[in-house]
Symmetry: C2
Subunit: 213 residues, 2 copies
DNA sequence: AGCGAAAACCGAGTACGCTAGGTTTTCGGA
DNA sequence: TCCGAAAACCTAGCGTACTCGGTTTTCGCT
């Protein structure tokens, strides 16, 4: 998965010092970004935190955006791991409830949603590195959710006439869109409740019994 | 509404040259941003376009972000004007159809969605100028939509047990979230169709006849 | 008409993101 | 063990966003 952590035949690969350094940098950056915001953190400060020069830091991460991306990549893998814990034979109601639970999880990690919104904007530029990562992340997120919905449909816990990929896309769109409204409201909006209301309404058209959550 | 366009007693206000200049600047910036992207446009280029210095430009717009904001403000007023054309006695189905029509409108304006996503991210910072504007815009957008839904409910074209503000928030969240997925997909995703599918599903729980669009 | 205050604009300087090239350090293999 | 190639790191310099004075232009008011 990661070609930098172990030497490939022919190529050299990273040294032990480099790997350790990169880890320190990501940790320091994550701390600074959450504390004082992405825009307001200077690369020099992060470099100072780990005891190297700005130029030295740029050797490991080609740009400030690449550094932000590395921070986000950590979060994404953690998120994917959490979702994979939802069993494949989960019924329709379980899946919708997981959407709400995921939102509650996000709310417990301070600064995460802000960083997510920021990276999203960066990914809008097709030339950026974030673009590729986000494109892949969204694809797999939608696919994974659609797959679980389709499995539930096979088991009869989701109505047979459901457009699973479309519902999956909608769920993720609602999650992202409401997160945006949440940050802009300054945390005033009851994000978890808003997601719950959507999932509840969705349940009434999706589940065979026609009831909510 | 705009204290700069007309002289208030005591204060001086802008000069005619200044107002004309600002307009030229916003036009030039909008062109550049759409053409070569926000990040890649240098303020100096925009200043050159209108025949002044970078310092001169910064006199009118305190920062590059403020300039972006001015561009977006134009779009927002145009958007609000479009929505106000939807009559107050529109029935539930009309309102949902308007959501789809609005999306199709956005798709016809190149670069607009990218700029929107970008400004959203900026607005995540409570200290930024975009924050205030977006907070206000979202509030009025949600309120306006909720109001129209409530009016339709009074006329019996939307089910009586509908949580209008929640539905309004959801519609806007879906729109924003899908726009994000659209830019990240590089325009591959059929945005209008995705919005239509959501509106259709919503119609089946919201409208008294229980049919789609 | 023309005074004067505020707007409009310029120019120099700063901080930061980033590039280019050179120097030092690491560490696999002879 | 120690050679040397690649990684790790630094220094110098450029472009850009932004600040801070100072200078010029506008235009309401007498």
């Amino acid at each position: 998965m990661n070609p930098m952590t172990s030497s490939t035949q022919g190529r050299r690969g990273s040294y032990a010092v480099g790997i350790a350094r990169r880890q320190k940098i990501v940790e320091a950056a994550a701390r600074r970004f959450a504390l004082e915001g992405y825009q307001r953190t200077a690369l020099t400060r992060v470099a100072e935190d780990v005891g190297i020069t700005e130029g030295g830091l740029l050797h490991h991460f080609r740009s400030k955006k690449h550094l932000l991306l590395a921070v986000m990549e950590h979060r994404f893998t953690a998120e994917a791991a959490w979702w994979s814990r939802l069993p494949d034979d989960a019924d329709g109601r379980d899946i919708l409830r997981a959407m709400v639970a995921a939102t509650e999880r996000h709310l417990r990690e301070p600064g995460l949603i802000e960083l997510f919104v920021l990276t999203s904007a960066e990914a809008a530029d097709p030339a950026s590195a974030a673009h590729a990562l986000f494109a892949e992340r969204y694809q797999s997120a939608v696919d994974e959710l659609a797959r679980k919905l389709a499995a539930a449909m096979d088991l009869g816990t989701v109505r047979a006439d459901t457009d699973c990929p479309a519902v999956a896309r909608e769920c993720i769109a609602v999650s992202d869109g409401l997160q945006l409204q949440w940050v802009i409201s300054g945390g005033t909006l009851d994000l978890a409740e808003a997601v719950r209301l959507h999932a509840d309404r969705l349940a009434r058209t999706l589940l065979p019994d026609g009831n909510g959550l």
